[in-house]
């Protein structure tokens, strides 16, 4: 091995302890299964290959190597560096060293490359060993790749991390508040639509990668889950946990997020990229996880924790050096592991676990998996929550720090956010105040709240704005009615409205001459007539629509055809047709009722039969939410992939998508 003997000894001891190798009489040997497991794996460290069954002595190999032409030596080194296998092309297999015409033949003739099967030649282990000067690898393997670091003020590291930590908590809260009101729907495949992710990104002023991370972290921390909207469509909703979470101090909330992130198998960094089949990954999709993610994060943090205080990863080269370091520590992880480590470092910076490329005290505690202590360490670094704002005459309110949750919520309702960061700038507009009134605030409450929350007197223009909005609020009222009643005779209208028999019609007087009803026109009209009124229907343009019973007429016959030959032929045809039909009917009745059909073509055939026969069938149908139900229907028409049928349960004609019909059987 190309390594320090003492270290090699240690490694061997370790292997023996793990029982991956054993002390055989002829020396230490690996367990037979180990070699099999190692073979063909990517990321193989050593170029060691099985030796020939009867290996020549090392001296012999060395002398053979010395005979080679430079071209053949180069070729051999190339084969060695690229896995120890190659193809020979046109090289002859059986040549003597003297006859060799090409570098490949030179090598084969000296058995420095051994033909295996087909065109393949392999490099025997002893040759490779000789080529590397008697070592298993060309590069030393016991030197841990060093981390590239620069020095940085620890206070700056802590402040940067605290700023990021504060930001991530604030953004998560904003996101979930938003989703609590307008939840995005869950895709059929279980993820979050790209469009919804873009909305989140815009809302939170982050890029889509950042948005994906926030969403995924919220999921890992158990703050969102799949739920259902009132109409049953699945949607991503904040959990009840969120309510508990949002009431906690910022540092604790942060610890919860970080805990979720650290232990989760989710891979937010893949969102937006494409998998092997070219399908792009959606955030929150169930497949978006990897068993290696957690290990990658913990390892990355542990490596980072190894950097002494006052030092941070160098800009540019730092991350790459961590990846190399981790690859040395875990040589047999698949290639994606390096990506996961890189992503973990990025995520740690966004989450405020690390800052400016180094770990602050709170981050070190996270690396030790002591989250409560990490939260306690972070707490003094966070901006103190404030309970007041500064109101200004340009109709803005500035909160000079993070607002207490309750105040922030209320202010959020009454004003629009103009700028975020350490402080928040709110702007009052007629629209934002109206939102407050819509939520049930009164002008007095708004003014009291503003006076209470402001450290300075409420500016006069703001008071005017509140009063102005209050004055116009609700000056136009909107409601729902099925029909209106208009009468110039106020007494007649009043009598109708107050008539006890009209109570079921839901009449309400809006003005002396106008009433509305919650009953539709076709119910209202006959009832009013029963009550002795003589209403006329008014069209949308205000004109009176007169209705009178339709006069019905049949279409007269158009001339008579001469009887005789024609009628005789028709009679014969009718006879024949009737006979055929009867035969069909008999056949039909004698055929046993088929069991439920399942293949689409069977279902289609069965449906066509039912249409032809005008029979009633039971179909199995999958609805929009994936639930299967059975419907009793009379199929009517089948075209364009849709079945139009009379649904007995709905008592109406319904359309069914044929591809969602799972089974058809006779009723």
């Amino acid at each position: 091995m190309h390594a320090d003997p003492a270290r090699a000894g240690e490694a061997v001891e370790r292997l023996l302890d793990l029982a991956l190798a054993w002390e055989a009489p002829g020396g230490i040997r690996a367990l037979s299964g180990v070699a099999d497991a190692m073979r063909g794996m990517p990321g193989l460290v050593s170029g060691l290959r099985p030796s020939s069954p009867e290996p020549p002595s090392p001296d012999r190999v060395a002398s053979l190597l010395a005979e080679l032409s430079p071209a053949a030596t180069a070729m051999l080194r190339h084969v060695d560096a690229h896995g120890g296998e190659g193809t020979t092309g046109s090289a002859r297999r059986t040549v003597s060293p003297e006859q060799a015409a090409s570098p490949a033949e030179e090598l084969i003739s000296r058995r420095l490359l051994v033909p295996r099967d087909g065109d393949t030649v392999v490099l025997p282990g002893e040759v490779g060993l000789a080529l590397r000067g008697g070592r298993t690898t060309t590069e030393p393997v016991d030197e841990v790749p060093p981390l590239a670091t620069t020095s940085r003020d620890p206070a700056l590291v802590a402040r940067t991390a605290a700023g990021a930590a504060f930001d991530v908590v604030r953004r998560t809260e904003l996101l979930l508040d938003h989703w609590g009101v307008q939840p995005p729907s869950v895709l059929r495949s279980g993820g979050l639509a790209v469009r919804d992710l873009k909305l989140v990104a815009r809302e939170l002023h982050v890029d889509e990668v950042g948005a994906a991370l926030l969403v995924e972290v919220a999921l890992s921390a158990g703050l969102i889950a799949e739920g259902a909207e009132p109409d049953g469509t699945p949607a991503w909703l904040p959990t009840e946990e969120f309510d508990v979470w949002s009431g906690r101090p910022t540092a604790e909330r942060w610890a919860r997020l970080v805990g979720g992130w650290l232990a989760s198998s989710r891979v937010p960094s893949l969102v937006g990229s494409r998998d092997q089949t070219g399908k792009s990954w959606n955030a929150l999709a169930p497949e978006l996880s990897s068993g290696l993610a957690e290990e990658a994060r913990r390892l990355a943090l542990r490596v980072l924790a190894g950097v002494p205080e006052g030092e941070v990863l160098a800009v540019g080269t730092g991350v790459a050096s961590v990846v190399q370091h981790v690859e040395w520590l875990r040589p047999r992880r698949p290639a994606i592991f390096a990506d996961l480590v890189t992503a973990a470092l990025d995520e740690a910076a966004v989450l405020g676990v690390s800052g400016a490329g180094g770990l602050p005290p709170s981050g070190r505690l996270v690396a030790d998996d002591d989250l409560p202590a990490a939260a306690a360490a972070l707490d003094p670094q966070l901006p103190r929550p404030v309970d007041h704002v500064l109101l200004q005459a340009d109709l803005t309110a500035v909160a000079p720090g993070p607002l207490e949750t309750e105040v922030a919520r209320r202010l959020h309702l009454l004003a629009d956010v103009e700028s975020r960061g350490g402080a928040t700038v709110y702007r009052f507009t007629p629209g934002s105040l109206r939102r407050g009134f819509d939520a049930g605030w009164s002008a007095l409450e708004v003014r009291d709240f503003l006076a209470g929350v402001s450290q300075t007197p409420v500016p006069q223009p703001l008071e005017f704005l509140v009063d102005d909005v209050a004055r116009t609020f609700g000056s136009v009222r909107v409601g729902h009615a099925e029909a209106f009643l208009r009468a110039d005779d106020e007494a007649a209208l009043a009598a109708l409205v107050h008539d006890p028999r009209s109570r079921t019609l839901g009449l309400r007087l809006l003005a002396p001459t106008v009433a509305i009803s919650t009953s539709p026109l076709d119910v209202l009209l006959p009832r009013l007539r029963e009550l002795g009124a003589a209403p006329v229907v008014e069209a949308a343009d205000g004109t009176v629509r007169v209705s009178r019973p339709d006069l019905r007429r049949a279409r007269g016959r158009r001339g008579r055809r001469p009887a005789g030959a024609v009628s005789a032929r028709q009679a014969a045809q009718v006879q024949a047709v009737a006979t055929a039909i009867r035969a069909g009917d008999r056949a039909e009745s004698s055929r046993p009722a088929s069991a439920s059909t399942t293949t689409p073509s069977d279902a289609l055939a069965a449906l066509r039969d039912a249409i032809e026969g005008g029979t009633t069938v039971v179909i199995g149908y999958v609805d929009n939410h994936g639930a299967t139900s059975e419907r009793v229907v009379d199929p009517r028409r089948l075209d364009g992939g849709r079945l139009s049928a009379f649904d007995h349960r709905a008592d109406d004609v319904r359309e069914f998508a044929v591809h969602r019909i799972t089974a058809v059987r006779p009723a």
């Binding site: 700023g163 005459a393 340009d394 700028s419 975020r420 402080a423």
Partner: protein, 549 residues
């Protein structure tokens, strides 16, 4: 955690808490590179923009200073991305330099070869530069100096101009400081302009921009071309220069629609320069008529686009821009930066006011309610006539009368947009009107009479908006105004901000119809004034009589 007065937001705004004990220091530290956006009573908002950072760079500040100022005064952690962005943006200025080469004339050179390669590859630049002299420099045709600077700014690599200026034809000009002296900030402004070579001086209306111009001319000691917005203001410049400098009326020429004189000091209007006949600008020759040593642009924020193009050819002459605001409604701030020069001096209005040079103004919005009949007419009218209906309501006339009565002994201006309404008001108040059709001579007579106190009340249409010095006005009543532009507001307030004799405060009334588009525009005005830090009150027309003066 730091207890600084500054909060750095992630959207590149800086919030400064004014009442904080170290607010003044922090303001001084950030003022060179951040643009003051709003200055209401408690928290001032500054914004970091590339132009602002480049202006700071041009004034000799470097990225380290900026980052240090932010970190020192910030209360919370400064977003890392923002610091990186600041450093990167500032690093872009000055990588390219325009220099005078003893052999090749004007050259564009760079200390950073890839940058030079990058810009030379841009299609727009390729046509403006000549032969490649060596790896780090390329020849530039002198006539492309302005265009090149403009194009480079658009590419995000603004060039520093070290190519110097022509001295121009010498002409003796001295300040005649008899009975008055240059105010400290005026001296400072003129000095920093001169040290910087070319650039813009930002001073509020009434802070004496004309004097800064005169002081700069005295520095230059050379023939000067002054470009102003209109004829009336041209005459004012002339009067002021005669009064404040050693120049005699014979040495100052006016070049306008009416008179075309070219003298050692020539004052031309933007309008005459931009007049186009048969596709050419016939008066463009003026720019080369003499070997000007200094070109002064009054009200840079109104500089019309054609003048920009002409200015591009004048890069070898010293250029002084004077303005109250760098904000241009057309967003061409970048062209001012590259063609006239970076900001050389800036003093926030409130600071100068606090120094006692400008009277504080009391801004009041008076709300009138439309009578029922007019309200109905308003509600059913077309959107394009609504504004006129709302602003011309008769209810306003009564309010004007009440206000004029309240301020009976103070010189008062009534400002409006609609001629009919102005005529009606003038008739009711028995006061003279100045409108578009009033001849210049008559206008001047009226303005002079107002200034001397002969007339105590003047009704003016929009024409009075720009650059007319009516320092004696103490009360302005705005009855209608076009669509709430910020500039117009600044100008109107400017009328009143000129220094007052007895330190009395000026009053600025706007009369607004409640619940109409008029009120919506008033909202913009209110925001603008409040952002400028003015106290703003709203009163109901009904309460007006109870209001103490």
């Amino acid at each position: 955690m730091n207890d600084g007065p500054l909060i750095v937001q992630s959207d590149k705004t800086l919030l400064l808490e004014v009442d904080h004990p170290s607010a003044a220091e922090a303001r001084k530290a950030i003022a060179p590179f951040a643009e003051l956006e709003r200055s209401p009573e408690h928290i001032h908002t500054y914004r970091l923009t590339p132009l602002g950072l480049w202006n700071a760079r041009a004034a000799g500040h470097d990225a380290e200073q900026v980052v240090d100022a932010l970190l020192t005064w910030s209360r919370y952690a400064v977003p890392h991305a923002l610091l990186v962005d600041v450093a990167e943006t500032m690093g872009r200025y000055g990588r390219l330099r325009l220099e005078k080469h003893p052999v090749h004339g004007l050259v564009l050179s760079s200390t950073d070869r890839p940058v030079l390669e990058e810009v030379l590859r841009a299609k727009k630049i390729a046509g403006m530069v000549g032969a490649r002299l060596d790896d780090d420099s390329v020849a530039v045709h002198p006539s492309e100096r302005g265009n090149l600077k403009q194009a480079l700014l658009k590419l995000g690599w603004p060039a520093e101009d070290f190519a110097g200026y022509v001295d121009g034809e010498a002409h003796a000009i001295d300040l005649a400081e008899d009975g008055w002296t240059l105010r400290p900030y005026q001296r400072e402004a003129a000095q920093s302009f001169w040290d910087g070579g070319s650039g813009v001086v930002v001073l509020p209306c009434g802070a004496g921009k004309t004097i800064v111009g005169a002081a700069s001319m005295a520095q230059a000691q050379a023939t000067t071309l002054i470009l102003v917005t209109n004829t009336v203001s041209a005459r004012q410049w002339k009067d002021e220069l005669v009064a404040r400098t050693s120049l005699t009326p014979d040495e100052i020429g006016e070049y306008s629609g009416a008179v075309k004189e070219i003298r050692p000091v020539t004052i031309a209007t933007y309008q005459v320069l931009t007049t186009k006949r048969k596709g050419v600008y016939p008066h463009l020759d003026l720019l080369d008529a003499r070997d000007w040593g200094l070109i002064v642009y009054d009200e840079v924020h109104l500089l019309p686009a054609p003048i920009f193009r002409m200015t591009a050819d004048l890069q070898a002459r010293r250029r002084l821009g004077l303005t109250a605001t760098l904000v241009r409604e057309d967003g061409r701030e970048g062209e001012v930066f590259s063609l006239i020069g970076p900001k050389r001096y800036d003093a926030p209005w409130k600071d100068i006011e606090a120094q006692g040079y400008i009277a504080p103004a009391d801004c009041v919005e008076v709300r009138v309610t439309l009578p029922d009949g007019e309200r109905l007419a308003y509600a059913t009218s077309d959107p394009d006539t609504r504004y006129r209906l709302a602003s011309c309501t008769h209810a306003k006339i009564d309010v004007v009368r009440d206000l004029v009565r309240q301020h009976a002994n103070q010189p008062t201006l009534v400002i409006g947009q609609y001629i009919d309404q102005l005529d009606e008001v003038a008739e009711m108040l028995d006061a003279p009107v100045i409108k578009g059709e009033t001849p210049v001579k008559e206008r001047q007579r009226l303005f002079n009479a107002f200034r001397s106190g002969e007339i105590g009340l003047l009704v003016v249409s929009k024409v009075a908006n720009f650059s007319i010095d009516l320092p004696s006005a103490e009360v302005a009543i705005q009855i209608s105004g076009s669509f709430g532009s910020r500039q117009e507001e600044a100008q109107r307030l400017g009328r009143l901000l000129r220094p007052k004799t007895e330190g009395r405060s000026a009053h600025f009334y706007t009369i607004v119809s409640r619940d109409t588009v008029d009120a919506d525009f008033a909202q913009n005005r209110q925001r603008f004034l409040a952002e400028q830090g003015y106290a703003y009150r709203i009163i109901d027309a009904g309460d007006l009589t109870a209001e103490p003066t």
